[in-house]
């Protein structure tokens, strides 16, 4: 317990994050290269979708990350709210833009895939709609955080919002799913997933790891900036920046 609390202080966490970052950046780059090589060059083309399916090597990991990061963000926000540890709230704030970016990336790649496959950039499918609402939740979190000047109030207010959002995510997901099954339009069903070749799974798994490494690296870089900004008046910051 104490070992973990040891790094709960921004002063101690700052150099640790700095040491971890290069490793994460390098592994993110290497894994992304390997994953893209498998996905774009080695994996066989799909029987039904041809080459167009290859966007899933970016699309699926991005969607997973966007959902997962929201939960991690809500977790850190909740820890910050309960234990009053500043670093946890800073971590939540650092994760939000990355999560929003992944949600947007997932929507954009989905649109790029949908145009040749469905003939439309956008259909009101349950997954697309709930991903869009997830993006809105991220934007609300960021908007609330950046509108409150007092950092302590900003931390706590946005933590409440993140927790309310986390409780609502499953409700929103199932309501939207039900809504779109009732409105069965002309769109193609996404739910039946064809069995994938093993190389495709490998490519996707490696891309997921690459996105993980990237997300952690970027969050650490951002949290370092936030620490410097918030602790600017502390004595140790002077030595840390030199």
């Amino acid at each position: 317990m104490n070992r973990w609390l040891h790094f709960a202080s921004p002063q101690r966490f700052y150099p640790l994050a700095g040491r971890l970052m290069p490793w994460l950046v390098v592994s993110a780059a290497l894994l992304a290269l390997a994953g893209l090589a498998i996905g774009l060059l080695i994996a066989p083309s799909d029987a039904q979708q041809g080459e167009g399916y290859r966007i899933i090597f970016v699309h699926v990991p991005a969607s997973w990350m966007s959902m997962f990061i929201y939960l991690v963000m809500a977790f850190w926000a909740g820890v910050g709210l309960v234990l009053n540890t500043r670093l946890s709230s800073m971590m939540a704030q650092a994760l939000a833009p990355t999560g929003a970016m992944f949600a947007l990336l997932s929507l954009l790649t989905g649109a790029l895939w949908g145009k040749p496959m469905w003939g439309a950039w956008w259909v009101w499918d349950a997954r697309l709609t709930s991903e869009l609402i997830l993006l809105f939740l991220y934007l609300g979190f960021i908007a609330l955080y950046s509108s409150i000047e007092d950092p302590s109030r900003a931390d706590r207010a946005s933590a409440v919002l993140a927790l309310v959002g986390a409780v609502n995510v499953p409700i929103i997901y199932f309501s939207v799913k039900w809504w779109s099954t009732l409105h069965q339009g002309a769109s193609v069903s996404l739910t039946r997933s064809p069995s994938m070749a093993v190389t495709m799974l490998w490519g996707m798994g490696i891309m997921v790891l690459a996105f993980w490494a990237y997300a952690i690296a970027v969050a650490l870089a951002r949290v370092r900036c936030i620490i410097l900004e918030r602790e600017a008046r502390a004595e140790w910051v002077k030595y840390a920046v030199e």
Binding site: L144, S147, A157, G165, V167, I172, W179
Partner: protein
Amino acid sequence: MSIFSLTLRRDLLLVIREPAQGMAVLAFFVMAASLFPIGVGPESALLRRIAPGIIWVAALLAVLLGLPRLFEADFLDGTLEQMVVGPVSLGLLVLGKIVAHWLSTGVPIVLLSPLLAIQFSLDRDSLLVMVGSLLPGTLLLSLIGAIGSALTLGLRNSGVLVTVLVLPLYVPVLVFGAGALEADLAGMDAAAHLYLLVALLALALFFAPWVTAAALRIALE
């Protein structure tokens, strides 16, 4: 008298003595819904098809517009601070304020909605379903909105901000509320939608006042 009924009475008295604000929200509800036929054309089959969505979205936006009234006046004159530091259950007090807000915004919207139903040429049975979905639905909107309203209290751009925070959370209410009416118009049973709407209401009745109280404590620190 409990703090719930005291707050309810006080807030309702304030609304009755200054009715202009509540009227503006109602006017918005009717006007916003009446703009759609002008936009899409007067064909009654089409209007009946899109009526559930329009009436529900108009009600949702009207409740959203009325949200600042919930805490803002009390915040500006310092009353809210006294409420928070007072020796009473803040959750119950907040629930009283929310119910008062619903009685002065949501219920008038529900009472006015048959007028719109006639404009969109809905028949009598669908009208009952519409009222039955709007009545719990508007309370649910007020409960969820109270959280956003408390979080943005006193911020410079609170009007826009509360919209951005609350609209994604309103999605399930809209799905089940408008879904009930739509199912009825399609000749299906609307009960499942209504049950789910009331289930969400039960959840929100328990959690929303508590979360709102926590948000108010943060805002007034």
